[in-house]
Each structure stands twice: as structure tokens, then as C-alpha cells.
């Protein structure tokens, strides 16, 4: 009898996810060549990741922002508000680039959904940001210094009744909700009183908006799903099974804010550490469940506030790394391949982050010294990234080719490297992008 998911060992879970990634069920490939291409590409990526053997060549996976929109002459606003354009641009762009995997179309979220809820956390094209540019986070304190206990005691209730009203301007009425966990008996004090908020007009209004937002999200997910299916059928695998964040970043990025969390390290370190502990299993679950739903083991983890300079070595080892490591190990236990992505520089962290099981993690870098990264991490994990965005954006075709070769020389030796850009690709010249891709495919072949 087949074992239940919970009964599988981490290795069995990983094998199951990998099998579903290599041989997705129910796919009708466009052609036998497409099927062959698909399997070659996933195998190439896995060979690079697992460090067991050299791939046939250095795989290339560009990390795209709204590049496909620009590529087709549209703005980020256009594809965030017109989902047909979203599908059209991403499909055309990826079909013409011919790389080893795609990053999905979810990078472009449904603009109208945020309009409906009056989202405060970000500004986006046509809403605080020019239509030609990507969305940007509005730094702020969305959780106050004295709210750690509330978060620690019941994170879901805290999000629902305190955090949501702050990040969604139209959901203020949710602040009135009693704990979800109060519903325990038929006795009115254990049951009916918990339903009172649902009868209040303000709350009902908030729910109506949630229904509208949900309907908008459904409209959006359809083309996003069609895009992924079309790519698979054409032989292009996904590289993003799921995503989650390091607990320190969850709190520092969009709850306490950069300044808030930095000051908390001095004023209330124990509370901060407790909250980090609280958020850890939540982050593991988020990454692992997405990976299973999407049948791809790779879980993307964008890293922000642990970069060089943003924490001292001691602070990194005390506040950032312990639960980051727990997150990595938790994801590995669930059969996933964690893919932390270090924005900025990570030179001072390389020795610390070496402490991971071999061949189970992909480490992505933006501005880190790649020779050092290869030297320190090369025998424990696949590394990726670092194709400089200034060269791709402002360089000549020749400069792009030279830099690509140099990067392959530095990182490609013996396998264990995936070609990727440093900072995300937005409005960049297609000539340079194609030169980068072609050079990798030609120069990156292992002989």
C-alpha cells in the first residue's frame, strides 16, 4: 500500500516531488521534441543542484521582473490590469528566449485586487508608482513595538485583526473579530457570540470586498495557470515550486520595518527572538505546501535584512541565521530544495551559511564575490546568480558576452552553477539578454 505523505522519509518526499517535476502527470507535450527538451532541462538543473555529476552544460534561468511586458512593448501597469496581456507577453517572451526554466507569471499580481482592498503595504504601477515601473514596498511600522506578545500568542488572529486592517485600507472592520479558536461548544458564549461580527454591516461590507478581491484573484490565476501549462507542453519547466521568507525578514520587512526591528534587537531582543521562533514553522509550511501544490521542489527564499552591513556578525548569528537554518532544514525535511536568494552582498556570511547538508540547497547571489562563494560553498551546494544588472542594462553586447564567460570561468568548474542575473531584470535591451543566453549555451558546455 502506498504510504501517506506524513509517513514518507525526507528523501522519499524529495524523490516524490522530483518525480512529479521531471515527469509531470497528465501533460500533452506539443511534440516528442518538446518532451525530450523538458526532461533534458530538468535533468540539467538537477545535476547542477545535487552536485552528483556535471550537467551537460551550465543551465541558465533568468530571474525576470516585468521584462516580458517591456519586451512586448507594454508597461507593467498593462499586464497587471489586463491578464490577457500578461499571458501573451510572458508566453511570447519565454518562447523566444529559449532558456532552461521559467519563473512563472505570478511576479505580476492582479492590480485590481489591490485597488479593491486599498492595499497600503506597496505602491504599484498607476497607484503611487509610474505605469512604466514595478511595484515597491512602503517602509513602515505595520506592527508596533508593543505588539510582540499578541503576535506570539496567536499569529493568525494578529494578522487578521491587527495587521490586515493596517495593510488593507478597506478591511478595518476585521479588527472586531474574536479569536477563531473560541468556537468550542454550543452554549451561546462559546458559539453564537463569535458570530456577532458577521452580522455587523461594516464587517459584511469588508467581506463583500473580500469576495470581490477573491473573484479578481480567480480571474488572474487562470491565465497564470495556462501560462505554466503551455510552458510545460512546450518543454519549459518551472523553477519556482513555492516561496517563503526567513522569519527575521518576515518581521523586519513588512511588519516592524527596517528601523523597528533594528531597534528591537537592542530594546527587546528576547521578544524578537520569540516572535522569530513563532514564525518559523509558519514559513516552513508556506514553502512546503506551495511546492507540493505546484509539483516542483524548489522553494524560493528572497533574503533582505541579513546582507553585509545590515547586521553585525554577532547579530547575524544570533537573530538571523539560527531560524533561517531551521527553515532550510524544515524545508529539506519536507522534500524541498530551498533556494535562498541573497540580495545585496553576502561576503561576510559565507562561512556561516556553509553549515548546510550537501547538495540540498541552491544559494543565489546578487553582488557577492563569486570566486569566494565558489571556494567556500562549492563543495556543499549549487550556487547561482551574479550576472550584473548594470552590465545587462548599460553594457554593449560584447561586454555582456565577456562578463558571461568570466562568470562561467569563475563558477562553472565541475558543475554546481546555474547562470542567473543578480538584481531582477526589468526594462533591459533584448539584444543583451539574448547575447547573455546564447553565450551561456555556447560557452557553458562541459566537455
Amino acid at each position: 500500500m502506498e504510504k501517506k505523505w506524513g509517513e514518507l522519509t525526507p528523501d522519499e518526499k524529495k524523490q516524490d516531488l522530483i518525480n512529479k517535476w521531471v515527469s509531470p502527470e497528465g501533460v500533452e507535450y506539443n511534440s516528442p521534441e518538446a518532451e525530450k527538451l523538458y526532461k533534458e532541462r530538468v535533468t540539467r538543473l538537477l545535476d547542477a543542484v545535487e552536485l552528483k555529476k556535471e550537467p551537460d552544460r551550465v543551465p541558465i534561468v533568468p530571474m525576470l521582473g516585468f521584462y516580458p511586458a517591456h519586451y512586448c512593448g507594454y508597461t507593467p501597469y498593462d499586464v497587471m490590469y489586463d491578464y490577457d496581456k500578461l499571458l501573451e507577453t510572458f508566453e511570447k517572451c519565454y518562447m523566444e528566449m529559449q532558456v532552461d526554466a521559467h519563473g512563472g507569471a505570478v511576479v505580476s499580481p492582479p492590480g485590481r485586487m489591490f485597488d479593491i482592498l486599498d492595499y497600503k503595504l506597496y505602491s504599484w504601477p498607476g497607484h503611487g508608482v509610474a505605469k512604466e515601473h514595478s511595484y515597491q514596498c512602503n517602509e513602515g511600522e505595520y506592527m508596533m513595538a508593543d505588539e510582540y506578545d499578541a503576535l506570539i500568542q496567536d499569529p493568525t488572529l494578529f494578522f487578521l485583526t491587527t495587521y490586515y486592517p493596517r495593510i488593507f485600507g478597506k478591511l478595518g472592520a476585521l479588527g472586531a473579530f474574536p479569536p477563531i479558536t473560541n468556537n468550542q461548544e454550543m452554549y451561546g458564549g462559546f458559539s453564537a457570540v463569535n458570530f456577532l461580527p458577521f452580522g455587523v454591516p461594516d464587517v459584511q461590507e469588508a467581506f463583500k470586498l473580500l469576495f470581490e478581491a477573491g473573484a479578481e484573484a480567480l480571474k488572474w490565476i487562470e491565465p497564470v495557470g495556462i501560462f505554466a501549462a503551455k510552458m510545460t507542453a512546450a518543454g519549459l519547466p518551472t523553477f519556482f515550486g513555492g516561496g517563503c521568507k526567513v522569519p527575521y525578514d518576515i518581521i523586519g520587512d513588512t511588519m516592524r520595518g527596517s528601523r523597528g526591528i533594528m531597534v528591537d534587537m537592542y530594546r527587546q531582543p528576547d521578544k524578537l527572538l520569540e516572535a522569530i521562533e513563532t514564525m518559523t514553522p509558519i514559513a516552513v509550511k508556506m514553502g512546503a505546501s506551495n511546492a507540493r501544490a505546484n509539483n516542483c521542489p524548489v522553494v524560493f527564499i528572497p533574503l533582505h535584512k541579513g546582507a553585509d552591513g545590515f547586521l553585525s556578525d554577532e547579530q547575524f548569528k544570533k537573530f538571523y541565521w539560527p531560524n533561517f537554518k531551521k527553515l532550510l532544514l524544515g524545508l529539506i525535511d519536507e522534500g524541498c530544495i530551498p533556494f535562498p536568494w541573497a540580495e545585496g552582498g553576502y561576503n561576510s556570511r559565507l562561512e556561516v551559511i556553509r553549515d548546510i547538508p550537501k547538495g540540498k540547497v541552491i544559494w543565489g547571489f546578487d553582488l557577492t564575490d563569486m570566486a569566494k562563494a565558489k571556494e567556500i560553498l562549492g563543495d556543499v551546494c549549487c550556487i547561482t546568480g551574479n550576472m550584473p544588472i548594470d552590465v545587462l542594462t548599460l553594457g554593449t553586447k560584447q561586454q555582456v558576452e565577456d562578463r558571461t564567460k568570466k562568470l562561467i570561468d569563475t563558477c562553472g568548474k565541475g558543475g554546481g552553477y546555474i547562470m542567473m542575473n543578480g538584481a531582477v531584470i526589468e526594462n533591459v535591451s533584448p539584444t543583451n539578454i539574448q547575447a547573455w543566453i546564447d553565450t551561456t549555451k555556447e560557452y557553458g558546455v562541459y566537455k
Binding site: 515601473h133 514595478s134 533594528m262 537592542y266 552591513g309 545590515f310 553585525s312 544588472i389 548594470d390
Partner: protein, 209 residues
């Protein structure tokens, strides 16, 4: 006692620092003397950041403690005395970009190193820079940007300064996560800084300090 405040604040001992401030105020000391000590302490914080002993959280925290000190001292202060400064700098995150952490660090470091800094905030239109340069005659301009869209905005800002006939009156430096020499050439700026310390060194060079 004066040295005490300088040391406790430089060492980021918040409670001790605020206690000393309270005691000195109660003893009837001149609030300006207290603020001068605080300024000396932040200079030390800046030096420790420059030599790699301190990191961004230390800067942020020292700023928070200073805020608390200012709140205590302000009500007892008469007219603020002008401090002698090395020179003026106007700085801002360029149009389209709303990131401020990097810019704020540069502002902090310029300030503790003796510059009078006008911080225009984030998403600053090119015309705003031009207007401020015209009005104040500030000779140093700092353009900050985190996103790659800032490449174009920085170029536009330099061009706007040029068009207004002010280009030869100012030195322009740029900085931010994805800023390199290539970007500097593209934008037409005079220099770029890979970190806040380089920004301070550039500003000092330009005022001849």
C-alpha cells in the same frame, strides 16, 4: 561627567545615557552643552561605522537614542545656536524610487562629519533638485537609488541640472545598491560611492576639507 555622556551614547547604552541627560538637566546645565556631547558621541559612532566596528543597526539605534535626548532637552532650550559646518549637501532618492535606507545612512554620515544636509526624501523629481540648487546655491548634490529604474532618473536629473545652467556650479555624486562606475558614466555624474564613507570622502574633497 561630560565624557561619560559621550562614552555611554557612543557605546549605545540607552538607559545610562538618558539617566545622565536627566541628571545634567536637573542640575541646571546648559542644554546646548548636552547636545554638543551627543554630537561628539555620534561622531564616534560614525567613525566606528567607517572602520567596520559598527553596522547599520548601530547607526539606527544611536539615532533613536539621540531622538530621545533631543526630546528631553528641547523644552529647556533657548534659541538654537548655529553650528559651524564644513559645507552644504543636498541629497535625495531620485524620481520613481521610494527606497530610503541607503540614503539615510549617507545623510547620517555626512551630518556627523560636519556637513549641513538638506534631505529631499524619496521619489524626488529632477525639477526639485534644480529648484533647491538655485535657491540655496548648495555646491554638492547626492543622488540615491536602489532600483535599476534609478539609472534613467539619475541621468534625467543630471541633465535637468545641466539645462538649468547649474552643472558647473555643483559636484554630483550618486550611490545605491546597483550603482557602479558604468552607471556613473551613463548618468553624467561626477563620482559614485560604493558606500557612505566614500560619499563623505567625496564631499570633503569637494569642499577642500
Amino acid at each position: 561627567m561630560a565624557e561619560n555622556l559621550v562614552n555611554t551614547l557612543a557605546d549605545l547604552k540607552e538607559k545610562e545615557t538618558l539617566k545622565i541627560v536627566e541628571d545634567r538637566l536637573n542640575a541646571g546645565e546648559d542644554p546646548m552643552a548636552i547636545l554638543n556631547d551627543a554630537r561628539k558621541a555620534l561622531e564616534t559612532v560614525g567613525n566606528r561605522f567607517a572602520d567596520g566596528t559598527y553596522f547599520i543597526p548601530d547607526l539606527v539605534y544611536s539615532g533613536e537614542i539621540l531622538k530621545a535626548i533631543t526630546d528631553m532637552v528641547k523644552p529647556k532650550m533657548g534659541k538654537e545656536v548655529e553650528v559651524k559646518r564644513l559645507g552644504k549637501v543636498v541629497i535625495g532618492t531620485v524620481a520613481g524610487d521610494i527606497h530610503d535606507i541607503g540614503k539615510d545612512i549617507v545623510v547620517f554620515m555626512l551630518d556627523v562629519n560636519g556637513f549641513e544636509v538638506t534631505d529631499l526624501g524619496v521619489d524626488v523629481p529632477a525639477e526639485k533638485f534644480v529648484e533647491v540648487i538655485k535657491e540655496s546655491g548648495v555646491p554638492i548634490v547626492g543622488l540615491s537609488g536602489f532600483l535599476t529604474l534609478a539609472y534613467d532618473s539619475m541621468k534625467d536629473t543630471v541633465e535637468a541640472i545641466n539645462k538649468a545652467g547649474l552643472r558647473d556650479k555643483v559636484n554630483i555624486m550618486i550611490g545605491g545598491g546597483q550603482i557602479t562606475e558604468e552607471v556613473m558614466k551613463f548618468t553624467g555624474a561626477d563620482a559614485y560611492g560604493k558606500d557612505a564613507m566614500t560619499g563623505v570622502a567625496l564631499a570633503k574633497k569637494w569642499v577642500g576639507a
